[in-house]
Point group: C2
Chain length 366, copies 2
Amino acid sequence: MRTELCDKLGIEYPIIGFTPSEHVAAAISKAGGLGVLGCVRFNDAGELDTVLDWMDANTGGKPYGVDIVMPAKIPAEGTQVDLDKLIPEEHKAFVERTLRELGVPELPEDTVERAGVLGWLHSVARSHVEVALKHPIKLIANALGSPPVDVIEQAHSHGVPVAALAGKAEHARRHVDNGVDFVVAQGYEAGGHTGEIGSMVLLPEIVDAVGAPVLAAGGIGSGRQVAAALALGAAGAWTGSIWLGTEEYLRTMPSSEAMQRALVAATSADTVRTRIYTGKPARLLKTRWTEAWAQPGAPEPLPMPLQNLLVSHAHNRLHEANDPGLVSMPAGQIIGRIDRIRPVAEIFAELLAGYDEALERLEKSR
Amino acid sequence: MRTELCDKLGIEYPIIGFTPSEHVAAAISKAGGLGVLGCVRFNDAGELDTVLDWMDANTGGKPYGVDIVMPAKIPAEGTQVDLDKLIPEEHKAFVERTLRELGVPELPEDTVERAGVLGWLHSVARSHVEVALKHPIKLIANALGSPPVDVIEQAHSHGVPVAALAGKAEHARRHVDNGVDFVVAQGYEAGGHTGEIGSMVLLPEIVDAVGAPVLAAGGIGSGRQVAAALALGAAGAWTGSIWLGTEEYLRTMPSSEAMQRALVAATSADTVRTRIYTGKPARLLKTRWTEAWAQPGAPEPLPMPLQNLLVSHAHNRLHEANDPGLVSMPAGQIIGRIDRIRPVAEIFAELLAGYDEALERLEKSR
């Protein structure tokens, strides 16, 4: 399995693996793909710096990248305290009532709470870029489209290419006009922020719309799906959700056992596209928490970044509840394929073998 | 392009084309695929008989099939007059008000109105099967899952295999348990009745769930997409929406010019999955009519078959309005690819050429 992407990124196989876990990212890079570390969890850029030091020491010199979350439109800026004032009381009351009705326990009194995600404030995302460019990264991807032109130029001045997610051909065209090097065509099936056009339709549309290489995202978790993505014209595959079901993920986030149990139990029908996580449409694991927000009478989610601040305390309580039915987690439809927790290398080897099998099958059909 | 499906159906290429137009169906069969004629438009089985006589005379002896719409659960039966009584006044008032607000003209006084679609009543669908089995059909497909076991047995006793649409792996398994010969895995992208799981995820899931050959539906309109479908494990492609943009379609439905103009103008983002057409979720072209039903305050659509009876008069008026912005038409996301009205044979030739190109590209990546 080899495309132009391999030469451009210095990787063996055209498989990119997005993950918030440095242990997963390193394992993907060591397997011959490109591990891309999600930065949005680092409210403090110093923390990211430490983790990238760990990456530098643990990827055996193999290339890796980072993923930032920089919205095209600059959202409300400010400290968590300032922003909290913009959240309506009705919304706070709904969250409190819902947690009570779902039987989610209060946090123990001595808990030091994890703050809400601020990584999608431009100020914080820019600090991620600053820090990342001090490390030997091979890619900066932006999960919310094209970063500002000056950020792209900053990356290019360090010789680092930039990738941007797109859910429509017109967005992809705009990204490339801004100087983006790779477009990640993210289909409806994908976890996290995603649009409404399915991968089967979106991918060739974006391939035809832009001259830049296109990575296929959304619904990819097997070698057959990588083959389909390449048949549709992609230069490589962008994978994400399948890496949530790995041993390495649990090493970074040891308290994610309930989430992994939920993934193993879930079918491809057990996700939902909703604005309740960040304020923008994102696909999440369907749980009693997401269902509560879909009931008549539930408030409309707030815009980014307020919605996540609204639910950040709830996320902490849901996480502590340690109940697979109450997990709040971005995940794509491919999670229906996760039937046990495995090492990254095993999944990666299956992607390669499945790809070869698919191509052999196709060749027989000519 | 050749798979086991070709031998099973006696066709040259594993491409099935669903269409309500006999002219399109005949052209697909003559091009080497299998044209499948949608029967739901025939409230009178005698009309279907006449059209199938025409097919027998105009397919040059090439195989063709028919598509019926038989819900798994038997819907309310009755004449149109009986059923009309079950429709709430609130709904009738909304339809009337919406047509007025959209500026849709009344029908001329001497119009003989086309009745609502009754083809999905079991009684009518059974009459379609009776009539179709008197013709040399090679396939009966059911757009709403497995037909009743006795209908499958009736088809088999005439040597005719049965295909059934599925939007989930568990449904596919049930269809095959009932005796269905082929499963049509219909992804979220598809036009008409469709589920929520994208083709990229759904297709390999259904392939692995059943032993029967699987046809890929949803988002297929180019050879690259046929190659992707086969890479994902399909034995063939089930196409539909792309044939709406053909010269042959206009020959059967000469008053569909506004619809075709709407298709040519539409992008892949211009469809919506809604219950307003039949009562079950179906993907339609997004127009001012579908948008009106998405407004706050619009009533919830009624169950099948009442919803279509509710809107059948509106459909006639919308059709007569001859305005691309007011069309009511099932269509999949692939319509973004329709950029002009062409002959069936030209589209078919492109499917074959695009497939070969995709395979050549893939072979280079090994």
